[in-house]
Amino acid sequence: MRREVPFVWGLSPRETHDAKSAFNPRHGRLRYAGVRFLVSIPTGEQLRTDFELLDSWRAGDNEAGNALFKRHFDSLVRFFYTKVNEPDVEDLIQRTLLGCVESSDRFRGDSSFRTYLFAVARNQLRMFWRGQQRSFIDLETQSAVDMGTSPSRVVARGEDHTLMLAALRRLSVDAQIALELHYWQGLDAAELAQVFDISPTTARTRMHRARVKLKAILQTLTDDATVQEQVLGGLETWARDIHRKLE
């Protein structure tokens, strides 16, 4: 008789959202009872995935949208701040968020929300420049500086940061995105492939070429080989350093 139902229920009880039944979302049902230190397992907003929040937002729930925005605001600031002039950052972040709501679920299922987010961000960046330049934009060959972003606007804290940012901005935009997303946002080759909609093998090649190109650009910016090495090394070790500093 059960088989005739048009859908099959899972065998576990649904989460009841009752304080008493703090289900472990990762594994299943029972909660840890509280011996002296034990506390119940978190539920609610923070456990909802990005895509779940996006769904709710699409259904008109602004709170969910806001929660999603808060999770990714930082990543988006970083993404755009290195590529466009400061006054445009805000507008681009907003366009990207709207882009996420409007665009279809091309990535759903086999990719992370961040991959999806950066793909949309990249697309918005392209459209933004196209509107400004009124011409075809090729992110594979043109750099942020080519698009009119000031080459050395940023006053960074350390000399090598300034240099690193100046060099990144001279790379082709796609190369810049690839390096930044890998080193600063932790995306791997498979994820980069999804952002650019290319094969993982091509993504690896792109990464490799971007590094070579970055090195060449650095050589035009400074003659000091030690500084060049520092900057290149810095790109890779930066995340680990920060990690260590935080501990």
């Binding site: 008493k20 940061h161 946002q185 490799h208 930066w238 995340a239």
Partner: protein, 864 residues
């Protein structure tokens, strides 16, 4: 070519990707304020958030005042979801905001029920602006209170209110803070009617924005004569300021006493004092009712020469406080108001403290072994054996320490005193157990928590915990208070929290009146622990803060370290505010280091550290810390000590949440064996550990193993707590769930039915707590294929849920799902569609993702 890249792990985790903005090279140069502004602007535009300017973590709501010291806003604290008041201060001194900030932080540490609680202090930008976030009080000021009503307040009310206000000032004076601008407008009253003094010391730190208004305002009478000309350099409000402050002389707490008396005079008589030294009182019926003693006290407080006033504000308060109450209080202090017999007995023992020639004689008497516990106490033989074992172990340890302390060439009186106190505690527990006032099991547990006799011969503990004043009379008084404090600890551990709390409050008052900061510190720590244990986090924070200050003042480093650890535990584990907890932990660590890293404090530190990490779900971190704590505990106490239970348990839970179920099993099992050995199987912790083991097994997809644990846990819980306890219902439903998963449907249904019945008995059939029980029961029935009963149970759950939680409560979804399924199988597609639509609507209302199966089902139903 790509292998190099391929082999490397992506270096930045998502956590680092969201790390602090300033640390990231990508956004170097983007100012913090601009970052915040951008975020707020987008939120406002896209999500309709009325995000305004942020100061620290606080979003300013609207301005509520502007005074000489700066602006005040109401603000929202998103972290703790509460309304706060934020005062923004500006300093125009050369040193900029740094000094202002430092001093404001000192203010923030002051914590007293009658002082406005400061939550946070911080800098805004780099212009020397400082903000102070404090509790938001909606009840108006003290001036509104005595001036705003249709008729004047009776003098008795005024006195009682001002005594409370005065206590706040006294607390500040104890922390070496002088208010300098006390007046009725600076006392805020909460909606609970409790007054809180605000703005300590700020008058000195800030520059008034407007020139000081020297003319008497409104209908008030003339200002005190002693104020100099209009150009005198003082900060504060002229009518309330003391003569010495008006002259620009250095001021101390006695200056506040003067301002307090001006305010009190005004509240009692409706005008501010005038007439120089004579201080005439208006001739009215109301004024005549005020006792002469009060008027004399107020006049003394208004003396022009500070030396003619009371030495401390406490003296003034004692003089104006109603006499009979004061007598009552001191009597209560002696006996313990409303305290059950347990405490009375303790006080009796404590009261018999007499100076004796041989300091070792009394503690030696207390070493005698007691007779076996009588069977009449109702405890099982196991429980009694555990109890006897615990007392014997304790006495053996005390005896060894006592021998050491007494055999030394010169007897170490502090050690003996400490041991004597420990044995006194043991005797108190033993009394309570033998007289049947405390359960045997509780007694065992309390004994294991008593001050370890071994500590009594550790110099850093003694020096930092109970240094006594040198004056012999005071020494005796303080020692007695310490005796009573140790009995308070026992009363608390035996579970009489209300009594312990009352005693600790009396001791706090005694310590304040004496004054002795060491006693205050110990009493406050006790109060903090009781509040934390009862889940009253805000109160706990208040007590702990003040306890740290008192321990500081007393120079009791051990006490300080212990307090900070309890403080951090309460904030981090119970209240889950991990940033604050981390800060407290850092301070605790420093205190422990200062003591030379004594082993037991180091261990406690690691346990608290690990527990906070666990609560913040930094699980790897938790595992690391707790493993260290465990190893150190083993080294100090050996592998079978009950102190290992706590770290083992959190460690196991951390492993479990990390998915390392094998490790979780090992640790939980070890904890289980230890609890069994030390406390017996009937201890509630034992059943909870079994439940944790069951949960681990269930999470490890091993329902048959889970079944074994949960069955035993249920049986024990039922045995220990009785069949009608709410915990029995939870245990039962957990077991039913696992049984159902194993396919033992009829058994599952029986267990769930029992659990539901237990829940009904515990809560009553119509209590909202029943909802979870009914939902679980219905689910088990449904899985058993009994759709008829399942529908009925679901119906009942639905009715209860709608009535108690509303028509669109999230909790209804589970029962609606069962309904929808059964309607579908009966072919009632229209009804089923209605139910499914309702599920979708409820989900949307609560931002919960719609169950994909519901979506699919709806699609099927809608497009046949």
């Amino acid at each position: 070519m790509g292998t190099e890249f391929d082999a490397r792990e992506p270096p930045a985790s998502s956590a680092a990707g969201r790390g602090p903005l300033g640390a990231h090279p990508a956004t170097d140069g983007l100012g913090k304020l601009e970052y915040q502004r951008m975020q707020a602007a987008i939120e406002r535009r896209m999500f309709g958030r009325s995000v305004k300017t942020n100061v620290g973590r606080f979003s300013l709501l609207e301005p509520i005042g502007r005074g000489g010291m700066g602006r005040v806003f109401s603000a929202y604290d998103p972290k703790l979801d509460r309304k706060v008041a934020v005062k923004v201060l500006r300093s125009d001194r050369g040193a900029g905001g740094t000094r202002l900030l430092r001093e404001a932080r000192a203010l923030a540490k002051l914590s007293h029920p009658n002082v406005v609680t400061v939550y946070e202090v911080g800098e805004i930008g780099e212009q020397g602006e400082v903000f102070i976030a404090m509790e938001f009080l909606a009840g108006g000021t003290l001036r509104d209170w005595f001036d705003g009503g249709a008729s004047p307040r009776p003098w008795q009310d005024v006195i009682s209110m001002f005594v409370d206000v005065g206590r706040g000032l006294v607390a500040a004076h104890h922390a070496r803070l002088v208010h300098r601008d006390f007046k009725p407008d600076n006392v805020l009253i909460g909606s609970d009617g409790r007054p809180r003094v605000a703005d300590f010391g700020l008058a000195r730190l800030t520059t008034p924005a407007a020139p000081v208004q020297l003319k008497p305002t409104g209908g008030s009478s003339a200002k005190p004569q002693s104020i100099a000309g209009p150009f005198s350099h003082f900060s504060g409000t002229p009518d309330y300021v003391s003569p010495e402050q008006a002259r620009g002389d250095s001021v101390d707490a006695r200056s506040d006493q003067y301002s307090f008396c001006v305010s009190l005079f005004e509240a009692l008589f409706g005008v501010r004092p005038s007439g120089g030294d004579t201080l005439g009182v208006p001739d009215s019926a109301r004024a005549r009712a005020v006792p002469v003693a009060v008027i004399q006290a107020v006049r003394r407080g208004l003396s022009v020469d500070p030396n003619d006033r009371f030495g401390g504000l406490e003296g003034l308060l004692a003089a104006i406080a109603p006499r009979p109450a004061a007598v009552e209080r001191s009597k209560a202090l002696l006996v313990g108001a409303g305290v059950v017999a347990a405490a009375v007995a303790l006080t009796a023992i404590v009261a018999s403290r007499e100076p004796v020639a041989d300091p070792c004689a009394i503690p030696r008497q207390r070493l005698a072994d007691s007779a076996d516990l009588p069977e009449s106490l109702g405890a099982g033989p196991d429980e009694r054996a555990h109890y006897q074992q615990a007392t014997r172990t304790f006495r053996a340890s005390a005896r060894a320490e006592l021998d050491e302390a007494c055999s030394a060439e010169t007897v170490e009186p502090v050690s003996v005193d400490c041991l004597s106190r420990s044995l006194l505690q043991l005797a108190a527990v033993d009394d309570a157990v033998r007289q049947g006032r405390a359960a045997v099991r509780r007694g065992t547990e309390t004994i294991k928590r008593l001050t370890d006799p071994a500590l009594c011969t550790e110099p850093e503990y003694l020096g930092a915990v109970s240094s006594l004043p040198s004056d012999p009379q005071r020494r005796e008084a303080v020692a007695k208070l310490y005796d009573r404090l140790s009995s308070t600890q026992v009363v608390a551990d035996l579970g009489f929290e209300a009594d312990a709390s009352a005693q600790a409050r009396q001791l706090l008052q005694a310590g304040t009146e004496l004054p002795d900061d060491g006693v205050r510190a110990a009493a406050l720590l006790q109060l903090g622990k009781i509040a934390a244990g009862a889940g009253r986090g805000d109160d706990a924070v208040i007590h702990f803060r003040e306890a740290v200050l008192a321990a500081d003042a007393a120079g009791h480093d051990w006490q300080r370290a212990e307090t900070l650890l309890e403080f951090a535990r309460s904030v981090g584990v119970q209240q889950r505010r991990s940033d604050e907890a981390t800060e407290l932990l850092a301070r605790a660590r420093a205190a422990v280091t200062r003591l030379g890293d004594p082993a037991r404090l180091t261990i406690e530190l690691a346990i608290v550290d690990g527990s906070i990490a666990f609560s913040a779900r930094r699980l790897d971190d938790a595992v690391e810390k707790l493993r260290t704590a465990l190893a150190d505990s083993e080294a100090l106490w050996g592998p079978d000590h009950f102190e290992l239970v706590a770290p083992l348990n959190v460690l196991a839970a951390s492993y479990g949440m990390l998915g390392d179920f094998d490790a979780a099993f090992v640790a939980f099992e070890r904890a289980r064996v230890l609890v069994e050995h030390h406390y017996g199987r009937r201890h509630p912790i034992y059943a909870q550990l079994l439940s944790n083991l069951g949960a681990t097994a269930s999470n490890a997809n091993d329902p048959s193993r889970a079944k074994v644990y949960l069955e035993e846990s249920l049986a024990l819980t039922r045995e220990v707590r009785g069949p009608d306890h709410a915990v029995v219902a939870v245990a039962g439903h957990n077991l039913a769930d696992v049984l159902s998963e194993l396919g033992a449907h009829s058994e599952a249904e029986a267990v769930a039915a029992d659990a539901t019945a237990a829940a009904e008995r515990a809560h009553g059939a119509n209590n909202p707590q029943m909802l979870w029980s009914l939902v679980t029961f219905a689910t088990v029935q449904q899985r058993a294929g009994h759709s008829g009963p399942a529908t009925l149970t679901a119906q009942r759950a639905l009715g209860l849920g709608e009535r108690e939680r509303g028509e669109d409560a999230l909790q209804l979804i589970s029962v609606l799902l069962i309904q929808a399924e059964n309607l579908g199988s009966e072919g009632r597609t229209d009804d089923q569609r209605a139910v499914l639509t309702r599920i979708v609507e409820i989900s949307k209302r609560h931002d919960t993702p719609v169950d994909p199966e519901v979506r699919a089902a709806l699609d099927t139903v809608l497009s046949p």
